[in-house]
Amino acid sequence: MTTESVPRPLQVSTDLSRPYWEAAREGRLLLQQCSICQALRHYPRLLCSHCHSEDVTWREASMRGQVHSWTVAHHPFHPSFSAEVPYTLVTVDLEEGPRALGRWIGDTPVLGQRVVGRFERRDAGVDLVFKKA
């Protein structure tokens, strides 16, 4: 298939997200934490919506959580995924509060199921991957 040569969409980081991706390549999941009120937020954004501070620190998350929902992608909407379908995407309630979207490895997920995640390297990036804890 010619589609094998189509690269996946790039993980282009921004000034806001650069620390996230640097840590992800080292296998760690970082969440933004407001330096003023300590509220956690994800995905990275400019302001804390509680106290409107721009000041953030980055907190390492456990990568543990529970299945919130999931889907199995059968149709490749981008040609780079043609050889991968079907694949399962899982939405996870992280122990720290925010959610993460990741690829799923294993049998059909069950809502509320306890999971653990890790970053997996691939050609031009890393995937957050969850499996049963």
Partner: protein, 386 residues
């Protein structure tokens, strides 16, 4: 309420809905716009407000130049995807009630066939600016299309409330039945619940027949000051209530406290209160149907039934013409065409005029239209006939 009955939908226009159109998006938009202007009994130069839907074809300046509009007094861009047409009704009603302008053209055109294959609507949502925070995290992992982003909402609804594939199928079958009656619909072959279940899986639980169409075409409406609307060609169709609402975390479903919640939940009480009607008064509904599930969920969030009861609500053909809530009497985005839901506003106007043809809901006087876009932004309008 200050917007109640201050403006009317006076003109409607649509092109033929097709695939592989040879006309540009702007040509389609112009064609629909001229039809709507003529339908209102106006001339192009009478338009003094323009709201182009999306930023994919003509701009307000394009309309000034092509129509020779001498004094455009109002324009707006509303960046909320499929919620934009009904939000545009709100913007037009507000501008008119404030005395800013008198005749607002709300207009859409798209030639999706002419866009690169990888750039189809179903694939490119993550390239839209309002999703910039999400794109780098979700798109490279293969969560890139609306079907893939909405599927987890639907799955959770199924798991929490027992919503079934058959419930989704009810929406698809009702829309298809109505499309067949329309005369300007892409899908004209009857389908059954079994056909729906047998259609290929796109993003579990969404099958092909749960997903809206990709199509080429244009649609337009004119919203006029209610007093000026007395001079229009058709009976007055009032904007009795209109409201918009946004979910928390609007740009990211993943981060939404309740991924099944929608902006329309906040908007619906405002629109019903403004219009002074109750759910039982709604005789016909045109509900934004990007996916079958979205119809079920909006019915719940608007208060037609309790959360979790949307599946049973639509069962047994209750969305069909002879059902409890005739819905998407034109076939909707699922079976007529996808013009971001402006066709829903056109169809509701047609129904309230009594021009619904074979799909006419008898003596329809009060109807509702919704918009839903950008992962959960919502709007609804309640229109009434004079």
């Amino acid at each position: 309420m200050r917007l109640y009955n201050r403006s009317c939908v006076t003109g409607i226009g649509e092109t033929a809905y097709t695939r592989k159109s040879t006309r540009s998006a702007f040509q389609l938009q112009i064609e629909a716009s001229l039809k709507a202007i003529a339908d209102a009994g106006l001339k192009p130069a009478d338009i003094d407000g323009v709201i182009p839907i999306g930023v994919i074809s003509g701009t307000a300046d394009d309309f000034i130049e092509n129509f020779g509009i001498p004094d455009l007094r109002f324009s707006a861009l509303i960046p909320h995807g499929g919620a934009s047409p009904v939000m545009a009704l709100q913007a037009a009603a507000a501008a008119i009630a404030g005395g800013v302008c008198q005749h607002v053209l709300i207009t859409f055109g798209r030639n999706i066939s002419a866009m690169a294959g990888n750039n189809r609507a179903g694939s490119r949502i993550h390239t839209m600016p309002q999703f910039h925070y999400v794109t780098e995290f979700e798109h490279p992992m293969g969560a890139s299309a609306p079907a893939q982003l909405y599927a987890p909402m639907a799955r959770r609804h199924m798991e929490l409330y027992g919503t079934t594939v058959e419930h989704f199928g009810e929406v698809a079958v009702a829309c298809r039945e109505h499309a067949i009656l329309n005369g300007n619909a892409l899908m004209t072959r009857p389908i059954t619940l079994d056909d729906h279940r047998a259609s290929r899986m796109i993003a579990d639980p969404f099958r092909l027949l749960d997903c809206s169409l990709e199509s080429d075409g244009g649609a337009a409406i004119i919203v006029s000051d209610a007093d000026r609307a007395r001079d229009a060609r058709h009976r007055r169709i009032f904007i009795a209530g209109v409201a918009a609402g946004h979910p928390d975390s609007p740009g990211s479903i993943t981060q939404r406290a309740d991924i099944t919640s929608l902006g329309i939940a906040k908007a619906a009480p405002r629109a019903f209160a403004m219009a002074g009607v109750t759910h039982g008064d709604i005789q016909v509904a045109e509900i934004y149907d990007c996916f079958t599930y979205a119809v079920i969920r909006q019915i719940e969030d608007m208060g037609f039934c309790a959360r979790g009861e949307g599946g049973p609500f639509v069962s047994g053909g209750r969305l069909k013409l002879d059902g409890a809530l005739p819905t998407n009497t034109h076939g909707g985005l699922l079976s007529q065409a996808h013009v971001w839901g402006l066709n829903h506003v056109v169809e509701l106007t047609r129904q309230l005029r009594g021009d619904g043809g074979a799909a006419q809901v008898p003596n329809a006087k009060v109807g509702l239209v919704t918009g839903y876009g950008d992962l959960g932004d919502g709007a609804l309008a309640i229109l009434t006939r004079e």
